[in-house]
Amino acid sequence: MSKVYMALQDNEEAHYLVEALEEDNPDVTVDYQPAMIRIENEDRLVLKRETVEEKMGRDWDLQSLHVNLVTIGGNVDETDDEFTLSWN
């Protein structure tokens, strides 16, 4: 087992992303550090567009994740609906 992780800038939009990540990855660890939020999980972490839209109450393009993303660790798979980090 290895951890995958993602760090987001600590801002309004990121708070919805964190809520969505917490809902779709129940065992996720969220660590608030100065100006950033580090989210890690064993082996796999998935961000779903639909969950984010539900939290935000509006349409949200998954690729706009790039605006608030600080860093990642893990293999990336990206579709219109999901952004997934994993280790094999």
């Binding site: 290895s2 100065p34 690729q63 790039h66």
Partner: protein, 510 residues
């Protein structure tokens, strides 16, 4: 019938792969002359995958959004005299190191990716490299803009690009990138995209930037995270390059492993200065270098190399040495700069009592035993009016170009010292890692432009060190260099905040 909306994969394919064409009247080897000489075998470029399926239109859209956010913050920072709100003027010296040592590397990366973005015959790799090239240009521009504000109020920022090409410690980062850019295109990718971006840059851009935020530096944290949001894409490119090369041909595996060994070691040496910035130059500390190293190299890198084991790739050769160094490297590097504080374009100082206690707590096995006594001695000398400056010129490692001040890890009182003889000349190294790199390609590294050798050969403005520093390096003597205590930076800071200098306090007490 309305046209069906294309999904991400289809859009990406049409807007990148589909832009390639067959070469009908020129030989492919003539168009891509650098693709074969390194021994890397590519059998099918179409197997290349970009996990971030970012097309040019989306790229411009999101980059523009990032820039708008960034410049709004720069404006707010400048309008609100943000320079007065950092924790302590000593902190600004970390930003001077950043501008003179790191930002010019962004420019080198821009140029390097523009080059390889032209040289690969695979269109997916070309597109990714071109985007990264534009990102890197954005990074150098935003960094220069952000720090130009500090240039109005602090010394040492004014001549960063001139200094980058000449000053002794800046030859460390400069030669690192010169080395990568003068390698072949695949080595460049393994060096910069994988070994540096994926394995090591988090250590610079994540905990250090979080530290900048913690020290009230809104401008730096913002350019740092804005740059790092591109780095997430760059890191993914680095991982894709490695997987692609390893999957293309088994003959690639030993070549890639050797590059990983080399560039991991080159990278850890380069990051010695970041270790020092984190442990000594942030008045409010988020985490120690050692803790950052454990999270971002040992844990994250461990997971990565476990993932790559299925290709036959192992942990970098000198990872164990680098791990042992986490207890020493920041202290040894800060000592070196303290020694040569008269020859640097930023200020150095001895940590105060509270800061030493923090270092003792974070480095329980090493700080009190090896470093605190030396630092207390230097502090006493400073208090007696005899601040220590080392008047000699140090011997440099022929590979990483860092002064030979690092020690053996099993005996931290003994300077590590390695030698090789090539064509009758003797070459010196700081470590087994640096010696290995030289021994594998001596023809390349005998050409190293070593600042101390160049001074002794008379190539830096003559025999007078004062003149080398002031005229050749363009350090404003007495302003940019020497200890923070007694500097014009300190005086200005104290005036803004109605503080007394240490000297004034001493006078009153006396």
């Amino acid at each position: 019938m309305a046209a069906r909306k294309l999904n991400l994969k289809e859009r990406y394919s049409l807007l990148t792969r589909d832009l390639d064409w067959e070469y009908s009247y020129r030989d492919k080897k003539e168009i891509f002359p650098y693709e074969d000489f390194e021994g890397i075998k590519i059998t099918d470029w179409s197997k290349w995958e970009d996990p971030f399926r970012l097309t040019m239109d989306a790229y411009w859209k999101y980059q523009a959004e990032k820039e708008k956010k960034l410049y709004a913050i720069f404006d707010a920072f400048a309008q609100n005299n943000g320079q007065q709100n950092v924790t302590d003027a000593r902190y600004i010296n970390a930003i001077k190191v950043f501008l003179t040592g790191v930002s010019p590397l962004e420019y080198q990366a821009y140029s390097g990716y523009a080059h390889v973005g032209r040289q690969f015959s695979g269109v997916g790799a070309r597109t990714a490299c071109q985007m990264q090239s534009i990102d890197e240009l954005r990074h150098v521009q935003t960094q220069v803009h952000a720090m130009s504000h500090y240039n109005k109020f602090f010394d040492g920022f004014q001549d960063f690009s001139h200094m980058h090409d000449r000053v002794w410690y800046l030859s460390v980062p400069k030669s690192f990138f010169d080395d990568a850019r003068s390698a072949g295109p695949f080595e460049f990718m393994v060096a910069i995209s994988f070994s540096f971006e994926y394995v090591l840059t988090n250590l610079l851009f994540v905990p250090f930037m979080s530290g900048a935020a913690y020290n009230g530096d809104m401008a730096t944290v913002t350019f740092g995270f804005s740059a790092q949001s591109d780095e997430a894409r760059h890191m993914t490119l680095g991982l894709e390059v490695i997987k692609f090369l390893l999957e293309q041909h088994p003959d690639n595996v030993p070549i890639v492993q050797r590059w990983i060994d080399k560039w991991f070691w080159r990278g850890t040496r380069l990051l010695a200065i970041v270790a020092m910035m984190m442990d000594y130059m942030l008045p409010n500390r988020v985490m120690s270098w050692k803790e950052a190293w454990e999270v971002y190299f040992e844990e994250a890198g461990g997971a990565l190399f476990k993932d790559l084991a299925r290709y036959g790739i192992e942990m970098p050769k000198y990872a164990a040495t680098a791990i042992a160094e986490k207890d020493h490297i920041s202290h040894q590097t800060w000592s070196t700069f303290y020694n040569y504080g008269h020859a640097a374009a930023f200020h150095t100082w001895m940590p105060d009592e509270k800061e030493m206690d923090w270092l003792s707590e974070k480095y329980p096995d090493t700080f009190d035993k090896y470093y605190r006594p030396r630092f207390e001695h230097w502090r006493e000398k400073e208090q007696a009016g005899e601040r220590f400056y080392n008047p000699t010129l140090p011997m440099l490692c022929n590979t990483c170009q860092i002064p030979m001040g690092f020690t053996e890890m099993d005996d931290p009182s003994l300077i590590a010292y390695r030698q090789s003889v090539y064509q009758g000349e003797r070459y010196n190294f700081c470590s087994d890692g640096c010696k290995d790199i030289f021994d594998h390609e001596p023809e390349k590294y005998v050409q190293s432009w070593l600042p101390v050798h160049q001074i002794y050969q008379g190539n830096c403005g003559g025999a007078d060190i004062e003149k080398v520093l002031s005229e050749y390096y363009r350090i404003n003597m007495g302003k940019d260099n020497l200890d923070f205590h007694g500097s014009p930076d300190e005086a200005r800071w104290n005036a803004w905040h109605n503080l007394e200098s240490a000297e004034e306090r001493l006078k009153k007490a006396g």
